[in-house]
Amino acid sequence: MNTETIISIENLTKQFPEGDGFFTALKDINLTFKKGEFTGVVGPSGSGKTTLLNIIGSLDKPTSGKVNVLGLDIGNLSHKESANLRNKHIGFIFQVYNLLPVYTVFENVEFALLLQSYTKSERKKMVMESLEWVGLGDQASKRVTKLSGGEGQRVAIARAMVKRPQIVIADEPTANLDAANAHAILKTMKKLNQELNTTFLFSTHDEKVMTYLDRIIHLRDGKLESEEFISHENDKV
């Protein structure tokens, strides 16, 4: 595994206005993530998992502290710079897939590339390659509304991976899936992590996910409770 640090978090605190005061979602978090990690942030509801990933994904900004992603200080990015970071380097996978319902499978995956300057033939090649990764190469022209939950999430993975991002952020990706589909999805992501050396960051409290993770970060009440590194030396997906 490459040991290059691509995310560093120093003294991160995030507060949200609540009534006359503030609710502290994250408090004094210090973390680093290296390239190619397959890491899960776990903890009960309200522990700050999603908030942490949203800040790393530049969808949100820290209240204090410093979050550096791929050399960029998230707290100081403009809207345009944040959008550019997400567009080129970060892929998102959501719990409810967040696919665009009026588009086909192909168009959903292609969407991320439309915002970049790829030619039509380049886009087609990349989309089909991405769909092959997740085993949906033969469903490209299907409407996403016709897909099953597992297929929908695989389209979401293909969409996240199509631009070859350095980081993929997955917020509870298996929460809406049955066990079989959850394992299939996780195997797909693990495979992509190993083959493309993409960093995967999960927020989860699904036990199934934990078995695939290399590193687990435990959050409780917005604080870093513990972290553990798991060796999968002999594992092969």
Binding site: N54, G57, L59, D60, H79, K80, A83, N84, R86, N87, K88, F92, F94, V96, N98, L100, P101, V102, Y103, E107, F111, A112, L114, L115, R159
Partner: protein, 385 residues
């Protein structure tokens, strides 16, 4: 921008019936605005052509003592125009009088016209070929209000140049049909020479009407009125009609725009997750605002396409066949043809297109601005903001 159009098109087509309902009402608005304005423009054009043919000519010279709005000036409002100035013009002499159809007194204006003039459209040849002692022409409106027909005789009373009353029977030799009410109701036409003969006047006229080749210019003792000035009253009436009628299509346009506005508000409310997804995929908020604005604006583009498909054959047919006007409209005093042929000019169509597309884009932009202030995290959660 190309991307915004591509995505907006897909989103609209994907939205199905909701899109087509908005498009249908906008297309109907398009058609109504173009039809109404085309109808008024057609009426205006026909009315001006008719007024030119029957009343204005290429311009007029009015004796300086004659004021068309003051009947007391008719008596002395005449004069003789130097012959070099009277080229390309035909004289008309006005006198007041009364006729007595069925024993009822009916005040009239007696107009003397040259029997060989070709400036105005009156069938003056009927006066030439008549054997009657005093042949007259009347319009269909006067004929209707007096129950006079061709061949009828009626007693006419008038004053000669000294103010002495005189009377004689006149014979209707023709009832002409003109759309210009102002030259018809309460007016009879006779040979200018005959009018000179019965009034004792000679070689004078109240006004001169310019024919082909006449260029409006001032002459001492006479007031020149060009075509624009003469038609300004008619144009003002038509424009007033246009303005009052426009309330209808402004209302319809407002309903159509409200539908788009509502759709946009509802879209932004219901599609928060989608907006969050766009942002997470790397669109800037401004790009998302643009996408939603283009989506709203595209309703009008689709509506324009539908309106063209429906409107081109429909309007072509209507402008060819024309629209019959009810007979009651002929007695309003305003120049209205029996059949109005709407005139759909390119400028009318382009102006309407720009008006509707610009309005739809503006009402789409207004709610879309909210997106710029949205928190993408809450949007992804679908939280109402």
């Amino acid at each position: 921008m190309k991307l915004a159009f591509q995505l907006a098109y897909k989103n609209l087509i994907g939205a199905g019936l909701k899109t087509w309902l908005n498009v249908a009402i906008l297309a109907f608005t398009f058609l109504l605005i173009i039809f109404y304005n085309g109808f008024i423009d057609g009426w205006n054009r026909q009315a001006l052509v008719e007024a030119e043919k029957w009343e204005y000519g290429e311009g007029q010279l009015l004796n300086e003592n004659y004021d068309p709005r003051d009947p007391f000036t008719i008596k002395d409002g005449y004069g003789k125009l130097p012959s070099e100035e009277a080229q390309h013009m035909t004289p008309i002499l006005l006198r007041q009088g009364s006729i007595y159809p069925d024993g009822r007194m009916f005040p009239i204006m007696i107009k003397g016209i040259e029997i060989n003039q070709d400036v105005l459209a009156f069938p003056a040849d009927k006066l030439v070929n008549s054997d009657e002692s005093i042949p007259i022409l009347i319009g269909k409106r006067l004929a209707k209000s007096t129950n006079l027909e061709v061949g009828d005789q009626v007693l006419m009373r008038w004053r000669d140049k000294n103010g002495t009353f005189d009377a004689a029977n006149v014979t209707v030799v023709e009832v002409f049909k003109s759309d210009v009410a102002s030259i018809d109701a309460g007016q009879i036409y006779m040979s200018l020479d005959k009018l000179y003969e019965i009034t004792g006047l000679q070689d004078v006229a109240t006004m001169y009407i310019g024919g082909e080749g006449y260029v409006s210019h001032d002459v001492e003792g006479w007031v020149a009125k060009d075509k624009e000035e003469l038609s300004s009253g008619l144009t003002a009436i038509i424009n007033t009609k246009k303005a009052s009628g426009s309330i209808l299509y402004i209302l319809l346009l407002a309903i159509a725009l409200l539908a788009i506005f509502d759709t946009q508000v509802l879209s932004i409310f219901r599609r928060q997750k989608e907006i969050g997804t766009y942002i997470s995929l790397g669109m800037t908020r401004i790009q998302v605002v643009k996408l939603f604005t283009v989506e709203g604006g595209m309703y009008s583009l689709l509506a324009a396409i539908v309106a063209i498909i429906v409107g081109v054959p429909l309007f072509w047919y209507v402008s060819k066949v024309g629209i019959s006007m009810p007979s009651a409209s002929q007695s309003t005093g305003v120049t209205i043809a029996d059949v109005i042929h709407p005139y759909f000019s390119l400028s009318l169509i382009v102006t309407t297109l720009i008006l509707v597309i610009a309005s739809a884009t503006i009402v789409s932009y207004m709610p879309s601005r909210k997106i710029a202030k949205m928190d993408p995290v809450n949007a992804l959660k679908g939280k109402i903001q």
